[in-house]
């Protein structure tokens, strides 16, 4: 399969954007919480789950998306949201709890909802999986060829919602791609202590759908496998399950001492950082030279800074606005 050059470059560009965003959020998150870390303090309070290292999972999908495709992601949503093109400014503003945020500050980093692109995520493991099934039902009803994608971790694959959702999508032959981001850990619990078999992709057989494994954290491999799974769904040939072995470079959430992963594991993981590997590959293959890469990095850094600045400059919502948006006003007319 030969991949259009712009896709290869787009993927790199998006990877840089994601990584930079996560790095800067991390800095800002800690900046005003240290030395005595207080989770409630600072510009960004609460839990913060960052996806550095998992960029390939997200960027390999995005070139295959079209307008209206729906994505449900997890508590670790930034990479997927950025790869789908969620407004970076409004996303940053939401993470900063500002009125200009996607949810006017009501949701926060685990509850990012965007209408166009069609994105949502949640703080409950496995909660988004059946939601993607329902989005696919709506697409079929409307006769569109849109596809729904649901991202979830390998830990979520042991939650009942995984089983129920895959059975429903297979039974009804719905256009859904289930994407298992296997970073080998659910907080401190290694996959070997949570999952009775080695590869969740083998669980596709329990639903009679294709199960494909991407054994490394390579954006190009993800691109190819996701391309086929999405195309298949678009053609009306039904759902598939894609499992991607990836790496969570940092702790489960920021502040996690990460003592449960051995130094050896962590060192090896950092050595295979996909940012480095993919950049090298692109230059080796002559697709990007050093100055291209430098230019891309600068452009992405600027875009991220702009978004973060927008967020920090935005006002907080009024306290009383907490009472708004519990219920929608009636719009249906009699």
């Amino acid at each position: 399969m030969d991949i259009p050059r712009e896709h290869l470059v787009d993927m790199y560009q998006t990877m840089v954007k994601i990584r930079r965003f996560e790095e800067r959020i991390r800095e800002i998150y800690f900046a005003d919480k240290l030395p005595a870390f207080d989770i409630a303090a600072g510009l960004i309070p609460g839990e913060m789950h960052l996806a550095a290292g998992q960029e390939p999972v997200a960027v390999g999908m995005s070139p295959h998306l079209k307008e209206g495709d729906a994505i449900t992601a997890t508590h670790r949503p930034h990479h997927v949201a950025i790869a789908q093109g969620v407004d970076l400014k409004r996303m940053a503003a939401e993470i900063f709890g500002r009125d200009t945020g996607l949810g006017h500050g009501k949701g926060g980093h685990m509850h990012l909802f965007s209408v166009e692109p069609n994105f949502g995520c949640s703080g409950i493991v496995g909660e988004g999986i059946p939601v993607a099934v329902g989005a696919a039902m709506a697409f079929r009803h409307h006769g569109s060829d849109n596809v729904a994608l649901s991202f979830f971790g390998e830990g979520a694959a042991n939650q009942g919602s995984f089983h129920e959702s895959l059975n429903l999508a297979a039974l009804w032959n719905l256009p859904v791609v289930f994407v298992c981001e296997d970073n080998a850990y659910a907080i401190s619990v290694p996959k070997t202590a949570s999952t009775a078999i080695a590869d969740n992709s083998d669980r596709a057989a329990a639903y009679g759908i294709p199960g494909v494994l991407v054994g490394n954290n390579d954006p190009v491999a993800v691109y190819e496998v996701m391309g086929e799974a999405i195309a298949r769904a678009r053609r009306g040939e039904g759902p598939s399950l894609v499992e991607i072995k990836t790496d969570r470079l940092w702790g489960h959430f920021e502040g996690d001492a990460d003592a449960y992963r051995s130094d050896k594991f962590k060192t090896e993981m950092l050595e295979r950082d996909p940012m480095v590997g993919y950049a090298k590959r692109l230059s080796d293959e002559g697709i990007l030279n050093e100055s291209d890469i430098a230019a891309i990095q600068q452009a992405m850094y600027d875009e991220v800074e702009e978004a973060l600045q927008y967020a920090q400059d935005s006002p907080y919502p009024e306290p009383e606005s907490a009472l708004e948006h519990v219920f929608a006003e009636r719009t249906v007319t009699l």
Partner: protein
């Protein structure tokens, strides 16, 4: 409100008719759940829909409540107006996350950008020997958590009007039908379960209580099948010279606090009849509402006739003793009248 006709329906048929009318006028409405197609719903709430609308819009599901209720949420976000049935409310525990954490909160999390117009229908109530996992009402549980409206019709007219209002709502609505008010042929006959229902579509506003019987001596605030019991009790009380006002709350979210307060200001005495568990539920909330709004009007402490904090027992003498009964309402009313 449109003029009534002479046509009479059971509550069960009124619900099905309300759904059918909206499905005819709005192609985005569809129904999903266990045994709601071929079977027409275990309690008949979807009777006849499969024949008229076909498998694409009337969808029998596997026993995967988390899966298909979560799917209803996803469909609603993407332009549909799903009606999804949880066969018995007692089963909520296998799927509550999708209901209270997802369906009920997405609109809020999105700052109003995403709408989730789902109607979750579910059967509630006991009294027929179905034991502790098929007899609960649990409306207090649903009403405690924000983001979903909770309606509980007690008669055919309200059932159709509340269903149509629920389907047209842009918010999640939990629509609880009590098995005892449906007028099912295989349940103990209940004359109050059949009544006049206009053939055309109409709405009953969600959030307005209904004074189903005017009275002056005490207010009996209740919901669901207990409305019938309260009305029967009120007739007996009348013979004793006690004039009871019966307030059918009709919805717990929104709760018609003004309606409760207004009635108590008139009668000066309040009884809450609640088939749900006694503690931490509807009875305490309604009484507190009266205290907050009409403290100085109360001639005696409000009382409650409820199901005690026990699992619903199977054996008939136990179950009948535990659930609110006409006798208990009459007795408690008499006591309330001499109190204070």
């Amino acid at each position: 409100m449109t003029a009534k006709t002479e046509r009479k329906l059971t509550t069960q048929k009124a619900i099905a008719e309300g759904i059918a009318l909206e499905m005819r006028s709005d192609d985005s409405v569809f129904v999903m759940g266990e045994d709601i197609g071929t079977y027409g719903g275990i309690f008949g709430a979807t009777e006849g829909l499969l024949d008229e609308f076909g498998e694409k819009r009337v969808i029998d599901t596997p026993i995967s409540e988390t899966g298909f209720i979560g799917a209803a949420v996803g469909a609603a976000i993407n332009g549909m107006r799903p009606i999804v049935e949880l066969m018995f409310v007692d089963f909520f525990g296998v799927c509550m996350d999708q209901i209270y954490n997802n369906m009920a909160k997405i609109h809020y999390f999105s700052g109003g950008n995403v709408k989730v117009p789902v109607v979750l229908t579910t059967a509630v109530g006991g009294g027929y020997g179905d034991a502790g996992q098929h007899s609960q009402t649990l409306w207090g549980t649903f009403a405690h958590m924000p983001g979903m409206k909770v309606v509980v019709p007690s008669n055919p007219y309200d059932a159709k009007g509340l269903m149509i209002a629920a389907i047209r709502e842009d918010n999640p609505v939990v629509y609880m039908f009590h098995k005892g008010v449906l007028g099912l042929g295989w349940m103990t006959p209940n004359p109050r379960a059949t009544g006049e229902v206009p053939e055309e579509p109409y709405e009953v506003p969600i959030g307005k209580a209904n004074v189903v019987r005017e009275g002056t001596d005490l207010t009996i605030a209740t919901i669901g099948l207990s409305v019938h019991k309260a009305l029967d009790a009120a007739e007996q009380l009348e013979e004793k010279g006690i004039s009871a006002e019966v307030l059918d709350l009709r919805s717990l979210v929104p709760l018609d606090r003004e309606g409760i307060v207004a009635s108590v200001e008139k009668t000066h005495r309040l009884m809450v009849v609640d088939e749900d568990y006694h503690s931490f539920g509807m009875s305490g909330e309604v009484i507190t509402t009266a205290i907050e709004g009409a403290f100085d009007y109360l001639d005696a402490p409000p009382v409650r006739v409820t199901t005690p904090d026990i699992p619903i027992p199977y054996s008939r003498p136990l179950e009948q003793w535990a659930l609110p009964s006409i006798e208990r309402i009459v007795e408690a009313s008499s006591n309330l009248l001499v109190a204070g």
